[in-house]
């Protein structure tokens, strides 16, 4: 915004005789300096902890840096890391597949549960606040190491889940140690944390004007019709917001995969999430160059997915007039 206001040569001179900027009241005249004073920590942080490290990581991704050899001996290897990643590293593609499966199964299921429960809690009744809080609790605790460890015990061969399944005559197995089902237990853990999007859905549902339902009812719309024609379109911006947030969140799953597999991504790489593989390459094997290349592809992929979501959002996200 301020970029185009005036060329630098025309900056007002300091002092009482300085010409007033058009449309700016006098009381804002010292904000420029103060603005940057207050912004200083953030500016330093942005430069030192975000921008420079990002450039550094781009550079590292073209090297064989392994943290143990001194800087002077770091070799520029061009696109070798990227070639190895896309060409000769089956584990890499495995990690990509696991992450995509996880994100594209867990996210819709989590959002679906969140929306369903939000609809159940939408009308206030005695105790509705309590339910809201209880359902939110797993979101708050769910990312922790402690709960991932408990989850592991529950889904182990002799864990309580198998005992419960036994009541229904289903024979259990070691869900966390079977490559076919280990990722499934991670997905269940993610769905279980539906509380945060649920609360956002509840806020969105409150914004839907009641008159719309009344009008729909006058027109003879049943409950399902009302949901499809009123609730969903009116809620679409909130659905979109949750979708973007949860998809990005899903790509980054680390703690539960690390804990459930003991840091290996096993069994047979079935829970090798992208970030876990990045950790293993970078911090267990000290292949910092390779890990940096992985990080950049990750960043570009997340950016791409976000752009695609925004593009498709145009077709189904309905913004009502006015601001919200």
């Amino acid at each position: 915004m301020a970029i185009t206001t005036r060329p630098p040569t025309q900056r007002p001179q300091p002092g009482p005789a300085a010409p007033q900027r058009r449309g700016r009241p006098a009381r804002h005249r010292d904000d420029g300096r103060a603005g940057y004073v207050f912004l200083t920590p953030w500016l330093i942080g942005f430069a030192a902890v975000t921008a420079i490290p990002m450039l550094m990581s781009l550079y590292l991704s073209f090297t064989d840096y392994d943290i143990l050899t001194p800087w002077s001996e770091v070799k520029w290897i061009g696109l070798d890391n990227y070639q190895r990643m896309f060409g000769d590293d089956p584990a890499y593609w495995h990690a990509v597949r696991v992450t995509l499966i996880f994100a594209f199964i867990a996210t819709p299921l989590k959002l679906g549960s969140a929306l369903g429960v939000a609809l159940l809690l939408n009308r206030s009744f005695r105790g509705s606040g309590l339910f809201r809080g209880l359902f939110y609790l797993p979101s708050l605790l769910g990312g922790s190491v402690a709960l991932a460890m408990v989850w592991h015990s529950m889904f182990d061969r002799s864990g309580s889940i198998n005992a419960i399944l036994g009541w229904f005559g289903i024979e259990g197995k070691a869900w966390v140690n079977d490559p076919d089902t280990a990722l499934g237990t991670l997905i269940l853990l993610a769905i279980w944390q539906f509380g945060a999007p649920m609360v956002i859905f509840l806020a969105g549902l409150k914004q839907v004007p009641n008159e719309l339902y009344e009008a729909a009812e006058v027109d003879g719309a049943g409950a399902l019709r009302q949901f499809l024609s009123v609730t969903l379109p009116m809620l679409s911006p909130v659905i979109f917001f949750n979708l973007v947030l949860e998809t990005i969140h899903g790509f980054q799953g680390f703690t539960s995969a690390f804990v459930l597999s003991g840091g290996t991504g096993g069994p047979v790489d079935s829970t090798l999430m992208y970030t876990l593989y990045l950790y293993i390459r970078g911090f267990a094997n000290y292949e910092m160059g390779y890990a940096s290349a992985m990080a950049w592809v990750f960043l570009l992929t997340i950016g791409l997915v976000t752009v695609v979501l925004f593009r498709t959002g145009r077709f189904w996200v309905h913004y009502s007039d006015g601001d919200d």
Binding site: P41, W42, F46, P53, P138, S139, A196, N242, F254
Partner: protein
């Protein structure tokens, strides 16, 4: 939508559906938590197999056993965690408040540009930055140094938690402009208007920031795992993973006991600030 008019409702089987579904859901959602709590009082062979949340034989010994299970006591790990979390809370509150004041209330060149960049960093996954940050902090001698928590805390002192900057900007935009305009007419500078008008009025945003910073730092695992390598310096989540390595049934009980203790601070925060937490994510989309 069910069309029930508020007030006296006829008792029909249909009106039981919602409570029944909700109770079932509550059981599903709470079972892992309650089972964990119950299991922390069970003997090892009972933890696996016993579906019931209540132990048959109460075994409170898991707690002292877990506390002293490793050479370094768990008390030390909790202290480390508390220290990291407390310093993060203070650092976040101060630095993000300063940045937010600049973005929300002051006019300066390139404000829009910097604001757009700040919003951009909101979506930047920490996994992308961890490798170069590690290399950088290591070259400073911070990683594995005498006080290895520097890489965990210093970034927060520099307002790199864009979530909180954004949250406070949103909050400050709600404070009536007339207040600082009046203050400036009374002779306040941007600094004294911050000190006497915005700072006192920002308390709710600061409280939210403090609570969420605490909970997220307490639960954080990735960065603590990367930066802490000395057993003495571990935080509680990193120390918990030691139980994964120490195989054998005997460690299961202590593991559950320590898991419960490590969740206790977050749970207490939840009980104390439940409404605020739920409303906090409402307005800003903060994750739990």
């Amino acid at each position: 939508m069910v069309t029930v008019v508020a007030g006296r409702r006829p008792f029909t089987p249909r009106s039981l559906i919602r409570p029944a579904v909700l109770l079932l859901l509550t059981a599903l959602v709470l079972y892992p938590l309650v089972w964990m709590l119950g299991s922390s009082f069970k003997a090892p062979e009972e933890i696996l197999n016993n579906v019931s949340v209540l132990p048959e034989n109460w075994t409170p010994g898991n707690y002292p056993d877990g506390w002293t299970h490793f050479d370094v006591g768990f008390g030390r790990y909790f202290l480390n965690s508390f220290m990291v979390a407390a310093l993060t809370v203070v650092a976040n509150c101060v630095s993000c408040l300063l940045a937010a004041y600049a973005f929300a209330r002051l006019r300066f060149r390139l404000r829009g540009f910097w604001f757009a960049i700040m919003i951009g960093t909101l979506l930047l996954p920490s996994h992308v930055l961890i490798v170069p940050q590690f290399v950088m902090f290591r070259s400073f001698g911070w990683v594995g140094g005498p006080w290895p928590y520097l890489p965990l805390i210093v970034p927060h002192m520099l307002a790199t938690d864009a979530f909180f900057v954004f949250l406070m900007v949103q909050f400050m935009r709600g404070i009536p402009r007339e207040l600082d305009d009046a203050a400036k007419i009374d002779g306040c500078t941007a600094y004294s208007a911050f000190r006497h008008v915005i700072l006192p009025l920002s308390r709710p945003a600061l409280v939210s920031t403090a609570i969420f910073s605490f909970i997220w730092t307490w639960n954080d695992f990735f960065r603590q795992l990367v930066y802490l390598s000395d057993l003495e310096k571990y935080t509680a989540p990193v120390a918990l993973t030691l139980f994964i390595d120490s195989t054998g049934q005997s460690a299961v009980g202590p593991m559950f006991a320590m898991s419960v203790l490590s969740l206790a601070p977050v749970f207490l925060f939840f009980v104390a600030f439940q409404r605020l937490l739920v409303e906090g994510i409402n307005t800003t989309g903060l994750k739990g």
